[in-house]
């Protein structure tokens, strides 16, 4: 198969994930969109590993998985805190950093 397949698929997933980050209001859903992005990235790495016959891509993809997991954990902990304080996880309300 063509390399283009994998890469394009990854690109689509990435763009959908970007859209999700921008468009979604629920914090959890934003995190999910980020997961999509990360998944797309993983796909890219693996495809490159296959293209170049080098396993380093997969190594890196595993790292990404690990980090993603860590990130989701911490992120969800923060979302929980936010929920506790505000009784809502709509990101619209979180604008204290507004300039």
């Amino acid at each position: 198969m063509l390399a283009v397949n994998f890469l394009l698929l990854a690109a689509v997933l990435f763009c959908i994930g970007v859209f999700g980050v921008i468009a979604r209001r629920n914090a959890v859903l934003v995190l999910m969109s980020i997961e999509l992005i990360l998944a797309a990235v993983n796909l890219n790495f693996v495809a490159f590993a296959m293209m170049n016959d080098n396993i380093d891509g997969q190594v890196f993809a595993l790292f990404v998985i690990a980090i993603a997991a860590a990130e989701v954990g911490v992120g969800l902990a923060m979302v929980l805190m936010i929920y506790r304080n505000r009784k809502s996880i709509a990101l619209d309300g979180l604008s204290e950093m507004k300039g």
């Binding site: 198969m1 390399a3 283009v4 921008i22 997961e35 796909l43 590993a49 190594v59 998985i65 690990a66």
Partner: protein, 185 residues
């Protein structure tokens, strides 16, 4: 691109003594899985049901794992399934539950400026697509045997040892951090 696909398919079908045979099944499989993935991903970002979004995400991640297998990264596929689907998604579901996401449809999941995302995503996709096609046109991924896991572990524990250990620290820190953050104090 469509033209190339069709050429590819024709070449595929009318192929007798060309390059190594096109694995049609592989491509079809890839295509199916890709379609499902894309649809599921799209649904993640557009559905009005938070739980459904989570479940669609599961679908996406599963599809990613399947693609890993097709990309001869078996270990990774398994790791993906176990870590992502098994842990991360469960975590997500717990998060959804704890944040009292409503059961069923819920309005107001899209924020006010969500229309901005469309052009950004589209432009980004256009850019990426262009770049990909420009760079990698007609690059063929050769079929191969899956990478052996020991090769992977060799890399982890020799060349990439430090990052490996660092990741473990990160995981530790993340775990502790999550506990600290989420404590009821």
């Amino acid at each position: 691109m469509v033209a190339r696909w069709t050429v590819n398919l024709h070449a595929l079908i009318a192929q007798t003594d060309a390059e190594p045979a096109v694995n049609v099944a592989l491509n079809i499989g890839f295509g199916l899985i890709a379609t499902v993935m894309i649809f599921a991903a799209f649904s993640v970002v557009t559905t009005k049901n938070v739980v459904h979004a989570a479940l669609y995400l599961v679908l996406v991640l599963a599809g990613v794992a399947a693609q890993f297998i097709l990309a001869s990264a078996e270990f990774l596929a398994v790791a993906q399934v176990m870590v992502y689907i098994g842990a991360v998604m469960v975590l997500f579901l717990f998060g959804i539950m704890l944040t009292r996401a409503q059961i069923g449809k819920e309005d107001g999941l899209n924020n006010q400026g969500w229309q901005l995302g469309i052009p950004v995503a589209v432009v980004l996709f256009g850019l990426l697509g262009y770049v990909i096609f420009n760079t990698f046109e007609d690059d063929v991924l050769e079929e191969r045997a899956p990478f052996p896991t020991e090769q992977l572990s060799d890399q982890y524990l020799s060349a990439y040892l430090v990052p490996f250990l660092a990741v473990s620290f990160v995981l530790l820190a993340a775990a502790i951090g999550a506990i600290v953050l989420a404590r009821k104090d």
